[in-house]
Amino acid sequence: MRRRKLDLAQVPANVGKGLDDRYKAATPLRGLLNKVFPDHWSFLLGEIALFSFIVLLLTGVFLTLFFDPSMKEVAYDGAYPALRGAEMSQAYASSLDLSFEVRGGLFMRQMHHWAALLFMASIVVHMARVFFTGAFRKPREANWAIGVALFLLGFLAGFTGYSLPDDGLSGTGLRIASAIMLSIPVVGSWVSASIFGGEFPGELIIGRFYIAHVLLIPGGLLALISVHLGLVFAQKHTQWPGPGRTNDNVVGERMFPRYALKQGGFFMAVFGVIALMAGLFQINPIWLFGPYRASEVSSASQPDWYVMFMDGLVRLMPAWQINIPIGDGYVIPPLFWPAVVGLGALTTIPMFYPFIEARRLKDKTSHHLLQRPRDNPERTGLGAMAFTFFIVATLSGGNDVIADKFHISLNAMTWAGRIGLVILPPLAYWLAVRICLGLQQHDREVLAHGVETGIIKRAADGRFYEVHQPLGPVDDHGHPLPLDYAGWVVPKKMNRLGALAPAVKGFFYPVEKPAEAPVSPGMPPVTAREEREEITSGR
């Protein structure tokens, strides 16, 4: 039987037809291809977290091929001479082999660790963007809560991963974790004994943390990230206010071709930065830490940076022990407050912030337009307060290194942290509110009087005055008519309006540049220009 001649040009159409016959994909696919996304640099911060998570999955799978989560004691006999003959757990020995005997294994390990740090860092930066712009408001409260939960899950993933190599530093971290469990009133010793399978350290914990680190927590992360992105997709992204932008539309680029391509490129850039850092900067040199021994410790024992705020709070906590004189007497150790209550509060209270703010402002409407930080000074102040608290706590987590390297007394650093934790956040609140109000004020002045030109003129009566360039229409005397405050960028420099070419070109330029000049909501929205359609990529 002769085969029919294959018409290559018809193949895609036929395949498409076949697929649609079966899956009815054409209509939903069109919607997907046509989705519009607003474009702003700050909307890309969350993507860094997403992409570093993908890198984490890729490198993590590689690491599991060589890592053995066993606490069986073995004598090391590998490539690293300074530990040869040392008794260590199989987990630590396999981590050393992974670093020194698997070709490129050390590079993969370092990529994994840097990606983890980047994942958490970008979560925090993304969270700050969402908070300060009010993107968490109705209808996105749930997505904000999921984001906070993602931070907590990332925190746990990071801590379990930090513990797996069973080196000196991770063992010290595990011991502190056990102490934190012990500090829980009533059930503490039971919790610790149950998780460690008896007395610390036991022989189970690495295996248990391993399954949590490679299956349970990543599974949770994956599920929550999917919901997080799904909600962004379904609810459509928020956008900045601006010409033509309303609460009911999305102004931007369609997903295809441009937006998706940009995302792909950015993924490669994130991946590249992680690879570069993994090659340039040594991270977590476990071979120097030695196997974990309960009697050994190093100065400057710290957790990774995203756990440091908790460690800092633990360091700053005064030695306040609560004794309960019933029966033989019971105690609540001081460790309980910062490590259990503190961590619990800091990762759950923020989840409710959207509801708290909405209730306080009696705001029940949906918001799809962002607010500039200056336009909601109180929220910005609260955010500044929270981040100052976080930063003071995090720095205190490294206060011994700071004390040592900058020749400050360690005890002074602790006291500075204790005082700073109380005094600096309110100060940050006050400062942020003042700055917001000042910026707002300046915007309003420009809207009312026009842009300062720097040109000083002398009037006939000897009076000096500065020429203002009007932003909008002027009255009979040439004075600008005051424009309404729109909560969006106001041109501050004359050259923006065409007197001169922009002084600085580059990526800072578009940040402040309004899309198409007019600021006043009174100006007509951008209208379609038919003649532009001639220049297309289609034939």
Partner: protein, 282 residues
């Protein structure tokens, strides 16, 4: 803290500022101390004149004589005549041994510029020969621990296990203060354990033997000379001379603190700039 890591070099700036007060101040301080010392020495002399005489007749070797001259010039203010110490200023040096002198003077910690929490390491004021002479003087005065002559490291060809044994001993005895990477660490109230990256083998040996400042003493019964050599071998070969395999920069081996700093200063910064460029209108 003469760390040879890049970070160490940077921090040396702070050291210099702290360890070298203005010349005028130094001289003023020295003059004041000299005056006080003279007054005190006079008092002590009248009280214990016969005893002092008896000490003076002790037979000293030629090199110890030289050392005594240096001592009488630079150290006597605080450590007193015949190194017997001055109450409230400097301890007696009887019995500290030449190892202590060679460590304290050889690293520039002595003479101190002023009384403070901890003697700072500075560029040494005496050359090696002078340090040896002073050590000899103190040794002949009251005995005490001495740095053995010969190589202070163990050859790995003779004893391949020395490096691992040294690492084991280092982690149990040294890391708690000096850190896994030997980068040093903070102690209470402004005191600190210095970085080991710039320390010579003699200095490490002398420090273990004599326990300078707040460092505990590791006598020869606790860590035998061979064990000390193993520790020095580990510090020398693994912490000082080995290039870190994990990257061009080791971030000072300070652990997660500098790693956390790097992810923001390098990673987040680059990517935020990339995001600014991506979303910018071209």
């Amino acid at each position: 803290m003469t760390s040879d890591t890049p970070a160490g070099r940077r921090f040396r700036v702070f050291n210099r500022r702290r360890s070298a007060p203005s010349r005028a101040r130094r001289r003023l301080g020295a003059a004041a101390r000299m005056l006080a010392a003279l007054a005190l020495a006079g008092g002590v002399y009248t009280a214990f004149a016969p005893g002092a005489f008896a000490e003076d007749t002790r037979q000293l070797s030629a090199s110890a004589q030289e050392g005594k001259a240096l001592f009488d010039n630079s150290c006597i203010t605080c450590h007193g005549r015949n190194a017997e110490g001055v109450e409230g200023r400097g301890p007696s040096l009887i019995g500290v041994g030449s190892a202590s002198v060679e460590f304290q003077v050889g690293t520039g910690r002595m003479p101190m510029t002023r009384q403070e929490a901890q003697a700072e390491q500075k560029p040494p004021q005496f050359d090696k020969a002078q340090v040896k002479q002073m050590g000899q003087y103190i040794q002949e005065l009251g005995g005490g621990p001495q740095i053995p002559s010969g190589d202070l490291t163990t050859s790995l060809e003779q004893d391949p296990k020395a490096l691992a044994a040294g690492g084991e001993l280092f982690r149990i005895n040294c890391t708690s203060c000096h850190g896994f990477g030997g980068a040093g660490g903070a102690l209470s109230s402004g005191k600190y354990a210095p970085s080991l990256h710039g320390a010579t083998t003699e200095q490490i040996y002398a420090a273990m033997l004599t326990g300078p400042q707040n460092m505990p003493v590791f006598g020869d019964n606790e860590l035998t000379p061979d064990q000390k050599r193993e520790i020095i071998t580990y510090v020398k070969m693994q912490l000082q001379d080995d290039k870190d395999p994990g990257g061009l920069f080791n971030l000072g081996r300070y652990g997660p603190v500098t790693e956390g700093l790097a992810i923001f200063v390098v990673g987040i910064t680059i990517l935020v700039f990339a995001a600014l460029w991506i979303a910018g209108k071209s």
